[in-house]
Symmetry: C2
Subunit: 113 residues, 2 copies
DNA sequence: CGGCATCCTTCTAGATACTG
DNA sequence: CAGTATCTAGAAGGATGCCG
């Protein structure tokens, strides 16, 4: 990892490293207060590729934001949920959602003119 | 752009598209309430590459979050500042900074054990 | 169902050199 | 000072096929 000096020191830089990936915000949003299986996430995030979802989930798991629970059975059952530090991210998501809506309105107004 | 259907519709997906780039969050943070010249930003974001900074700024400008003001003079002077919709992003940054600090503490505790 | 291995393509940061 | 043009290395998303 480049700029290791900033990671773990600057809050913004650290956050940016966590939020890499096209789907990480959406995953954290859908997992808020929910326990979801792999297939459920895949459907919610369509048209995400299966391999991509796996990689994103592994990344978030390594960073400690989500938890992966495997039930050894046939058919397999794997459940994903937020960890403590993952749940603490919720205020960011809330503000982000508000801003996203503001921005979408901004886009609409821009297209009118 | 892939998934154009989600861009401009889903707040999270839209936000993710805006926040691409390793430096966008930091740039928005430093421009909060400030008007900065290219060189000032470059110093604040060291060790960012000059070309990288240019690209990030162009991206944010195209998305309408920052404004670029050029003074035609020698030596050149270019100032960057937040637009209205860019300033509206501040609540997100505030929550993100809080979470970043929480996460950094989480990392420190994890390394102790 | 929930993966993994493999391969491919695109995207991105960054280095370097040059310009008005 | 504030870029542009060009190139490279690497990462990321994604398609496909196979497996317990």
């Amino acid at each position: 990892m480049k700029n290791k000096n900033l990671f773990g020191t600057c809050p913004y830089f650290t956050a940016q490293k966590i939020l890499v990936g096209k789907w990480s915000l959406l995953i954290l949003h859908y997992l808020d207060g929910e326990v979801l299986r792999f297939k459920q996430l895949e459907r919610l995030l369509a048209p995400i590729a299966q391999t991509t979802l796996t990689k994103q989930l592994r990344g978030l798991e390594e960073h400690g934001l989500i938890e992966r629970k495997v039930y050894t059975q046939i058919p397999p059952r794997v459940e994903y949920s937020l960890t403590q530090v993952g749940r603490e991210f919720k205020p960011v998501l809330e503000k982000l959602e508000l801003w996203g809506e503001i921005y979408i309105k901004y886009l609409e107004n821009k297209n009118k003119t």
